[in-house]
């Protein structure tokens, strides 16, 4: 069975949209997907400001465009999606991903649901406890002695050193692909190697 490694962040809108498409893809291709946490920067769309540099304007309108297209494709994919008003984070929920035993798909599905449909802050301990319970995971995973967030930052740094720059990134036999738009390439590769 081919192993496909995918780096995600629950607060990344592109990860949310890609997750559902990828789960369908996984079933169709009998894949073993390993979901890896990657802590992305906050992506709140900056407000226009006076004396904005050309570069700042570029980055702002680029982010605005991405947001409008993410909402458009969410509709096309029949996925409810609501951008949070506050700068919600995902650190704690994301840091638990490698610590969970057994199947993690329900946990990931629910984490994305909490963030993009309920607009919950996944860095809030009570919310994360609720998330663990709802996805039938032990809450004791939070009681470990190690600093979960520091480990997440360290793992993210290692991923960056291997070339990951954002999420979702698909890693297939050492090659990195940023975005679900690469699924046709990955599909072709898997079909040819079967």
């Amino acid at each position: 069975m081919t192993v496909l490694k995918i780096y995600i962040d629950f607060k990344s809108p592109e990860s949310y949209l890609a997750f559902h498409q990828t789960v369908t893809f996984e079933k169709e291709h009998n894949l073993d997907i390993s979901w890896k946490p990657f802590l992305t920067k906050s992506r709140t769309t900056p407000l226009p400001k006076k004396n904005e540099t050309k570069g700042e304007t570029h980055l702002r309108i680029r982010e605005e465009h991405k947001k409008s297209l993410n909402l458009k494709y969410a509709k096309i994919l029949n996925l409810p999606m609501k951008y949070p008003r506050d700068e919600n984070q995902s650190d704690l929920a994301l840091s638990l991903l490698p610590k969970l035993s057994g199947e993690t798909k329900d946990y990931i599905t629910l984490a994305f649901h909490y963030f993009w449909q309920q607009n919950f802050d996944l860095n809030n301990r009570d919310t994360v406890i609720e998330l663990l319970k709802a996805s039938k995971k032990e809450t004791t995973v939070l009681d470990v002695e190690e600093d979960l967030i520091q480990t997440l930052i360290h793992d993210t740094e290692l991923a960056k050193q291997s070339g990951v720059i954002a999420t979702p990134t698909y890693e297939l036999e050492g090659d990195l692909f940023l975005g679900r738009e690469h699924l046709p390439w990955i599909k072709k590769h898997l079909t040819n190697n079967r």
């Binding site: 570069g55 070339g163 990195l176 975005g179 390439w185």
Partner: protein
């Protein structure tokens, strides 16, 4: 096939963009397949303003660097990514050694569109392909003129056009982009919405062919 109420589609490109280069083949194929003539226009990217700048010498050594670590990571990924798609299109994509001023080559797009629109695909192929093999100095007007001639389009008046009306049109267009929310290439613009990136080509095709069935998700066409 004839479709009723086909919305007008404008495509913005820049010769120095690797993503515009890999978008060229599937976009020209879509145009041909549907029997349409898209309105191709230049968007000359000001790369240093948002991605820093850098310059390499002939042996590939970095001799000027104004980029952060994360900007370099993004640039390296972009080239690697564009290169693998260029390869499956049978094309060569070599990394550029500097950030080129592509305005003359881009004004050439407007020139060819005005002089002989049917020849525009030839011009685009003739200018993009060798540029990405590092065979063309697109800042040299003689070189661009030669590509226009090779594409069987008149070059009579091109130099004057680049210095006058063509440059004026080009500069006015560039000044309008940010105000309209447009920032990169390739961009596909309908009268009521626009899309940055060739991953939207499945949706663009869906709109151009009457929006029948479910709208498709993003995908890079192979």
């Amino acid at each position: 096939m004839v479709y009723s109420k086909i919305p007008k589609l404008i495509i913005y490109i820049d010769v120095k963009s690797p993503y515009a280069f890999v978008a060229l083949k599937p976009t020209l194929a879509l145009e041909k397949d549907l029997g349409l003539l898209f309105d191709w226009k230049p968007l000359t990217l000001d790369i240093p303003s948002y991605l820093g700048s850098a310059r390499k010498n002939d042996s590939g050594k970095l001799i000027e660097n104004n980029r952060s670590k994360s900007q370099w990571s993004g640039v390296k990924y972009a080239y690697r990514d564009a290169r693998r798609y260029a390869n499956i299109q049978g094309k060569t994509l070599l990394g550029t050694q500097k950030i080129w001023d592509s305005s003359i080559a881009n004004i050439g797009v407007t020139w060819v569109s005005t002089q002989d629109r049917q020849r525009l695909p030839d011009y685009l192929i003739n200018i993009f392909n060798p540029f990405w093999k590092r065979e063309l100095d697109i800042e040299n007007i003689q070189v661009v003129s030669e590509i226009i001639r090779l594409s069987k389009v008149t070059t009579k008046g091109f130099k004057e056009y680049v210095a006058g009306e063509g440059k004026k049109k080009h500069d006015l267009l560039q000044a309008s982009f940010h105000k309209r929310g447009i920032f990169g290439v390739p961009t596909y613009e309908f009268p009521d919405e626009f899309f940055f990136g060739r991953e939207h080509l499945p949706y663009v095709r869906w709109r151009l062919t009457g929006c029948e069935g479910e709208a498709p998700d993003i995908a890079y066409l192979l």
